[in-house]
Amino acid sequence: MENPDPMSRAAEQEPVGPVPPSAPDVAAPSSPAADAVDGSPQGFDIPVLEPDDDAPRVIQTDEGASDGLAKCSRCGATEISLNVATGNLRCNFCRFEWSAQSAADAFDLNGDIGKLAGVTMGSGSSDIVPSTDEVMTFKCSACGAEVLIDTASSTQARCHWCRNTLSMNQQVPNGAVPDMILPFKVAKETAIASINKFVQKRRFFAHPLFRAEFTPENVMGVYLPYMVVDINAHARLSGEGEHQTRSYTVKVGDSQQTRYDADLYDVVRDFDVHVSDLTVESSSERLDQITSQNANNIINTIMPFDVENAVRYDSNYMKGFTSERRDSNLDELSPIAFTQAEDITRHRVNSTLTFYDRGVRWTQQDVDVRGQRWVSAYLPVWLYSYQQRKSNGSTFLHYVAVNARTGETMGSVPIHQGKLLLVSGGVEVAGIIAAIVLTALGI
């Protein structure tokens, strides 16, 4: 057997020049009832985060990658998968193990963030071209059969005639092949135990149908799409801070009330900030986290991942797992990332504000993004899902998710509302009786 390139593809692999993210306006909320006491300026100026350089620098992350049969270098078999215990790829025929190159080394992702200027991005982060096919056609070089790969859920498929595995490693502008991948580290058995433990702690008010149907063995290993962002910015925050100088009680009518004296200061902080490995979901479905409608916040909660250990993308890491394709571009994700970077900046600065024990009110927040680096990644999640059918006919998809690197577990368990309302009613009645007794006793 030769090691060929695929003979046909449903779409051309023309490199697509990424469109620089547009400068986002990060809306700032008005300051809530901030100035009743001292008459200082109301509201924020709306900060505009603009990259200094409009021309993005693209790191070609699929250089040397090939589609088709990816063979074991020792025996030539295509039965290659991740050995979760070691984090290496393993040939399941001759047991030879190896690892893909570290993404940080390959793409210089550990470089000084302070030297970032303008937009730098991995080629796997480039804009998605809507006309690009989701289902790709490859010709198996072992037997000549045509094999389809549905990139919505994988970048691998087995040839139905000769049983060889075909991989897709070259990037096409449909978001299926990212710049890097973080292999699973938590074994399935461990994930099942974590999910089981999580649910067992929440059995009493769990919906009886869920209790009956709960099968943690059905957990799925999923690679979910994210963008990992480094940001080099300069920030200038200005506002006012209060330091308490005295507290005392005064008599108002029949009661005693506390009063506070404080010194008011103008506060300015001017500094550079380097944000490293800020991670943002790049699937529009996962970005939707309205908790009354879905449980995507559960998957969000298990972040962060140790993305510094990600490796160059290799489809062989996907065998036995499924994936979701990225469907969001930088111009949609930039406002989210920049707003979160502002949050990070504001919280880090708090370590310099301990003197202001009554708080600080920022009235002006200017964050100038000088450089940004975007890399797309598949990150590993063990996902147990349960579709709840409600009495009104609607459905709600619950998740119990395990971070397949750190083991952090979070979940949403369907509630037996009738039982919870009944018990809450009992607690309420007991509380009312207790309140009456306490009042009667004058306590």
Partner: protein, 101 residues
């Protein structure tokens, strides 16, 4: 309202009432009157975890460099009834994706 918000609100009320001993009995009774609602909220959030999210503001690595600080005294304020500064926003988080509605 999230579990932590409920706890914080109750905590704040306890603190606020700390200086007025004459109101303590009424406040304790008020807490008991809310016990059923508090129990429901506590269990709801324990099972659904609708209040949980990735704390990007504290869980993301960041470094501050070349810090320049300017702190200028403006004036003293007296007789304020609030324990904390009005409109303090240094702990505000705007980038969270999680919303209830």
């Amino acid at each position: 309202m999230t579990t932590s918000a409920i706890v914080t609100a109750v905590h704040d009320q306890v603190l606020a009432s700390g200086g007025s001993s004459g109101d303590d009995g009424g406040f304790v009774g008020f807490i008991f009157l809310l016990s059923g609602f508090a129990f429901y909220a506590l269990m709801y959030f324990r099972y659904r975890n609708a209040d949980k999210r990735h704390r990007h503001e504290s869980e993301t690595e960041a470094t501050l460099l070349n810090m320049k600080a300017e702190d200028t005294f403006v004036r003293s304020k007296t007789g304020m009834s609030n324990r904390t500064m009005n409109g303090a926003n240094s702990h505000e988080v705007r980038g969270a994706r999680k919303k209830f509605f």
